[in-house]
Symmetry: C2
Subunit: 314 residues, 2 copies
Amino acid sequence: MYCIGIDVGGTTVKLGLFTEKGELKKKWEIKSRLGENGKVMLEDIASSVRDTLKAENIPEKDITGIGMGVPGPVQPDGFVEVCVNLHWKDKYPAKELSGLLDNIPVKLSNDANVAALGETWQGAAKGYSDVVLLTLGTGIGGGIVINGKIINGRHGLGGEIGHIHVRDSEKEYCNCGGQGCLEQISSATGIAREARRIMEANDTDTSMRKFGNAITAKDVCDCAKAGDDLANRVMETVCRYLGLAISHAALIVDPDVFVIGGGVSKAGTFLTDMITRYYDYYTPISKHRGKVILAKLGNDAGIYGCARLALQEM
Amino acid sequence: MYCIGIDVGGTTVKLGLFTEKGELKKKWEIKSRLGENGKVMLEDIASSVRDTLKAENIPEKDITGIGMGVPGPVQPDGFVEVCVNLHWKDKYPAKELSGLLDNIPVKLSNDANVAALGETWQGAAKGYSDVVLLTLGTGIGGGIVINGKIINGRHGLGGEIGHIHVRDSEKEYCNCGGQGCLEQISSATGIAREARRIMEANDTDTSMRKFGNAITAKDVCDCAKAGDDLANRVMETVCRYLGLAISHAALIVDPDVFVIGGGVSKAGTFLTDMITRYYDYYTPISKHRGKVILAKLGNDAGIYGCARLALQEM
């Protein structure tokens, strides 16, 4: 028996065919075609799934289920009010896809949540039951797994750690409407902005200067690793707020482990060590707490998690 | 069939005999006798349970189980490293009590966690599956229930919301070793301290002045309700940090509802309205979030939750 994971993004849809034990048999992608409030994309997905099963010589009845991750909040009943990047509004995508595929059961969750489940099933957190994932990319995605299951939340806000308020003095607005969200400082976008700000506010010599306003999070991390003082000040700020938010999560759900993924996590243990220093500072209550580790599955975390979701009781 | 809830505190042990449907048949208390690392207290509890069952004419075999709440972190395997108030160290209290009562199954959790379960079962959050409780007393206790079950956490830190860091400028130390924990500001003790500080820092006329250094959280709330400016400034600070911590929890576990209990909650909707104002401010991402409501069961929340725990699969 097999299961299928489908990670839906605004640019591409990633698909994976898995054995029930978690072995990735085949992985492929299709372009995200927008239009007709998701109808086009779901039809593309359905026909791609059908083609692949045919090519692999797997009958539909051998598919236990399909899991799907979408970039937006999912209500407990599977309702999606809005996915900005997909141009979706007010729909039940799982029910719709299932209808297009002879009623194969389809389960739905948020993309960051399924990534957390993927890392728990076959990635950095394999063997653990309680996991918090932070994906540091353009924004910050968060996903929480407790007792092996995703915490979607009663209103679809479970794991929205990127929008935890951490900085009172922030004047710019986050796209959530808040001022001072973690994502504004510690995402890839946020790191670059912090670097531009610190360069503007200081005359100090810094190796970051040569990148100008096009500086990226990777540039900042590289400069910091090479010992640049201003770049290190940026990363200390970035990691202080990450450590603070991780401390909050430790004192609320207390997982086995915190997994850091996304593009920024390529900075490696330089990043996790610095985060851990602040996390320790903000959580003196006990040394027995979940450690901060690096993600393993990269961009595949989503399809792994979707496949795992397909196998779970709801 | 019946179950028994036992809420163990440093001064008294509260006990309750319940039907499996959640009806409180009998409620009683015994004094907490310390000594021999908990042996004395557990023996007192066992003989009190036995006496009551005899008096009520209920045979031991009609007891489905016992739940016990203790004021300290409980490890997933039931191990208690330390309960400061009980003078307990390195023990398995549930196993020990079960041994003293002909092996009636005994389940164990933290006292704030069981209170959350009690309010979920028969209190303010009845009918909901996902609940966060904050108990504002001498300290701040926190308890989290997801899918009807307590989140103890993998290291016993689940729901330790009182130790979430909220104030960078705090110079005094919390008993957890941190500086700027929510509990330092928004517990009954914290509210009184904030009031003393604001009176010392201001010459302004205030109705709080007549209480001097003996001012209590209730005095501050009463003065604030009566329109006193400085008292209102204290309560704004207290509620701002509560709203912030509740916002964090909403963006992590996203419960149906937040329940506010403990002595300070007697201030009623004056308190919850002010908390909600800040919670809204810190969580603009969505209006669909758990509401902040007042607890209902008062000091009985613990025994209710313990009894419910006794009935659950672990």
